[in-house]
Subunit: 253 residues, 4 copies
């Protein structure tokens, strides 16, 4: 079996598309943001990626049907060199070696699609509740840093101190070796909950950069649900009995 397989549903012709990636990670910020983007832009799925670097697992959908865990590629045609390719997925690679192989594989596919510019989305764990999340950045070259700063992205000295671990970082690092321009946008988040508010902050930057109009109602709705959960938890911590809705405590990814 090949380590990584890609199944194309369609081979789109795109004009110098930019690439946006959001996978599960801290606060699920990247995944929430990228999925909201592809949903709102009615992006079209054109490829599925399977790999033995993912868990040996199928997901069971509500109709009783299964599908193998995967990453998915979508496209958005906007013309005038503003097409978009979005990668979302159930998992990142499980092992360091798998992470490298997957990032390298995705970059090879992106080069075939004519992608020159990458945006990877993620969360930046603060270890405390964040009222108004800033969006931190890291990039492959100085011009990009400047451009992103004009859109409110914060490039803070020594942040993140531990660097960026996982697919979001690796695409930048390996992409840079291939001459690609790439930015990682990280929404501040507590790290304790999935964080639709942080995902929205990231998307607000990205939509300015890409000149996109997005409706955020869905993310705001999810953010409210999370807010209710966290305030209930705070009540519990203060020794108060929450009266209802414990069953809401699901992981909204």
């Amino acid at each position: 079996m090949e380590d990584i397989q890609i199944h194309f549903l369609e081979k789109p012709q795109l004009e110098d598309p930019v690439f946006v990636q959001g996978l599960p990670g801290i606060g699920n910020v990247g995944k929430l943001a990228a999925e909201h983007l592809k949903d709102e832009l009615k992006a079209v799925k054109f490829a599925e990626i399977y790999s033995k670097f993912f868990p040996p697992q199928v997901l069971v959908l509500d109709d009783g049907l299964i599908r193998l865990v995967q990453n998915e590629l979508y496209y958005v045609k906007r013309g005038k060199g503003r097409d978009i390719v979005v990668l979302v997925g159930d998992y990142q690679g499980l092992t360091p070696e798998g992470q490298y192989e997957l990032a390298d594989f995705v970059l090879a596919e992106l080069r075939k699609l004519g992608v020159q510019r990458l945006f990877t989305l993620g969360g930046y764990g603060m270890g405390r509740m964040v009222a108004k999340p800033r969006v931190l950045g890291a990039a492959t070259d100085a011009a990009l840093v400047k451009e992103m700063e004009t859109h409110g992205v914060v490039f803070a000295r020594g942040e993140p101190g531990a660097g960026i671990v996982g697919a979001s970082g690796l695409l930048l690092g390996l992409g840079k070796l291939h001459g690609m321009k790439a930015v990682c946008l990280m929404g501040e988040t507590s790290g304790y909950f999935v964080d639709p508010k942080s995902a929205q902050a990231v998307l607000e930057v990205l939509t300015k950069v890409l000149d996109i109009q997005l409706d955020f109602a869905e993310l705001e709705h999810k953010a409210k649900q999370i807010d209710q959960i966290t305030s209930k938890l705070r009540e519990v911590e203060r020794g108060e009995e929450p009266r209802e809705g414990k069953e809401d405590l699901g992981y909204i990814g």
Copy 2:
């Protein structure tokens, strides 16, 4: 050394056989069910699968002889397109990559045998004692879901929520990519003990689907042994001294 080796004792000619798999897992439900099926149908072993994805281990049999841990393929000839191939074994692959390789390997062998339809058997851990286990299902296409429902299989919204991990799920997921029709039948089980009762529930569905008559005396006997053990355990939990048979507390797989 090859990653996976298959040693054929015989190369059977089968008519459009269906495939049934049961390997160690939650409550050992799948393994108990598949082994009972092959024992009662006097299935004939025709191949042994060895792999470095299994533990580096030999088993010692009662006569002092050893055998390498393995998976085994059996066939049952019933004619009229109703032949059966059964896979049982000592272990699943130890690593995610090993799980993918093994599932892919088995699917390749099944295609050579003309298999188009797969049944994987397993347990569904409830985290509580289950008096009358239901059989939950997941399948590769909607027609199969409907067919299974007529045999009492439950396709519950959001169950199992975490999907199906391991060989039972992977055969469905990878099989679907190759156009095979596959169902996973999962017997509800506490997850605390091996569960012959759950295995019987799964087999009762499978025998209806495959139109097989099976004697369940052996499984019922094992179920009684487990019942005795669990009631003794409950006595101990209630602070009562069990009077006998602590030595019965073995793992009956």
Copy 3:
């Protein structure tokens, strides 16, 4: 880099040699026994095996020189079809896959040397102190079981229940697939200490089987050291202050 490398110091011509292996394991019984055998028989080292399946480690010898961790092959020429090949080493493979690869590699070398018969030595952990260790056996065929029984080897129903994990078992399991005759001899041992007494019990069987005379003074000396340590430990457990020799508490392998 190759996964496994063998460096030959010499290419011995041997007459139908038998093979004896003892590697680190429970109570270090196998390693102690095989090293005592090769020392007493003044066996000649003829090959060193390096592998990336061993730890990334060098050992520092007393003269300040290093050597890479390794397995070693020795030969003993006794003529008349009674030559012996001994494998000892610093480590077993670290991963299941490494264990399989190493066992397969060793078996290929043994076939080139004309080996048909294997003896793997190990310990059998009892979880309690053992006054007079028995030697348990497991074998690839029934004739060997019988032969070993005449030398006092015990083939106990259901022992070891968990089978034999690691190199000692794998050489039997993989050797059997290649038509080799193989026995694993396991000395009972507590599993808490290295156990020269158990190693001696194993060697007493092996010397009868191979018709060898061995001096056991060195093993008996080590056994006494261990006895002193364990009696001191028992004093400590009983709340007595041991008066001397805490510095003896080393791991004598």
Copy 4:
């Protein structure tokens, strides 16, 4: 993707260079020493090594730019057969197999550069504070042991007892198989903190061996910072409130 990639910035012509390596490890002694050496000698970077055996991670520099984690090769031209190649890096290989592959890869590059003599630098964990660190050694041949002893290196019987684990040891062990002469210099260190003082002790030996003049001001400055931290910690242990500077408690690598 290749397991290990090397990107050359320059292909230097060197005269019989010696090789010095210092990577992260106990007390970060080796890394501190090798980086100080290359900084003070104004060594020139000529190659970067990337590998999927490193963590899937990019580092974020103070200007907001990223770089993939890597190992780096520098050279120092001193002429007269006294050229130096220095390897420093962010990480060692994550897995045993990765460690072997990386060491083998580096040795192949060193052979191309004409390197015959290796110095690997590291720390030797004592488990207690060390006022005046000695430098322990281990080497591939007896002549090197003697030579190093004239420079004050201690070759202590049975030290280090567990051998040398990781890149420092492996380069010696694998280098020896290729006929290279190699020494590992290990500065004694507590193992609790990064230890610039121990790094300096190691470099004081190395500069004598290689006939180099080095300024140690920078290392001494770092050592003072660490001393301040550790004395504050001792105050805390004694129950005293440290008055300032808790924020100094960073890991200075």
